[in-house]
């Protein structure tokens, strides 16, 4: 690195204390990347549905295993987290929410909304 340059330095992750802001930020990226697996899963679901009963039930049997269900629950949480935090990002784009207390408040709103929606979805699925 050129020490003379005025370009900003990124934080050194090894010595940087994790904060709610940095965790929320990397989680947004992580959930976004993870949901690409969900998109692929939806695509495979449509492919097997169009291929017939045998392929469809084969795919469903994989999804019904314990790792499969954990995968589905993680996918739903990722979607809801990315959705809620995405709304937070859109509010930032409109210039709202930059004060530090607003940033902390909206962080906790996002996390609790994502957890709540995941619980509602899975309670609904197991009851009906």
């Amino acid at each position: 690195m050129n020490p003379q340059s005025n370009r900003p330095l990124s934080p050194h992750l090894q010595i940087y204390r994790p904060q709610i802001t940095s965790i929320m930020s990397i989680m947004h990226r992580g959930t976004g990347i993870f949901f690409i697996l969900g998109i692929m899963g939806i695509m495979v679901w449509v492919i097997t549905l169009a291929s017939g009963v045998i392929a469809f039930s084969f795919y469903q049997n994989i999804l019904r295993t314990i790792p499969g269900v954990i995968f589905l629950i993680s996918l739903s949480f990722s979607l809801f987290y990315h959705l809620a935090n995405g709304i937070r990002h859109l509010l930032w784009d409109f210039g709202w929410g930059y004060k530090i207390n607003q940033v902390y408040l909206t962080s906790w709103i996002v996390v609790s909304t994502a957890c709540l929606l995941t619980v509602i979805l899975w309670v609904r699925l197991t009851l009906y």
């Binding site: 990347i33 784009d93 609904r124």
Partner: protein
């Protein structure tokens, strides 16, 4: 040296202060679109996906593990098929725009173009395969 996000350099918010058109440098990450175009597409797909993704989560989840007949019945309703395809296309577009940024942040600069091209091929293939198969169910 890459200038992938330098259009955001001075301001936190592209919607509060839109970068002047003459300041657009050709964005090396998205091949043909410029930085502001990328940012606007990302936010446009995001806003439309707010209701669509919620619908997808709460409607599609009832049929993921349901019987073959039930799943076919659900997806062959015209409104459901249209919303499903729309949601899928927007999810893929939004994911493509996101992964382009991720590639730009982490990949070595000589690999960026090829990785973006691969992502684009995946995105186009996913859309064509899924939409045509949904249509084939009718």
């Amino acid at each position: 040296m890459l200038t992938n996000s330098h259009f955001m350099g001075e301001t936190y918010s592209i919607l509060v202060k839109i970068p002047p058109l003459n300041s657009q440098t050709k964005n090396p990450l998205s091949l043909r679109t410029t930085g502001p175009a990328h940012a606007w597409w990302q936010r446009t797909t995001a806003v439309i996906l707010i209701p669509l993704a919620l619908w997808l989560a709460f409607s599609f989840s009832n049929h993921v593990l349901s019987s073959y007949e039930d799943a076919t019945m659900w997806l062959t309703q015209p409104v459901v098929a249209i919303l499903f395809c729309l949601a899928f296309i927007l999810l893929v577009l939004h994911a493509y725009l996101g992964i382009v940024v991720v590639i730009g942040d982490y990949a070595a600069s000589n690999r960026i173009t090829s990785l973006v091209v691969v992502s684009r091929i995946f995105a186009v293939t996913a859309i064509i395969v899924t939409v045509s198969l949904v249509i084939s169910l009718f």
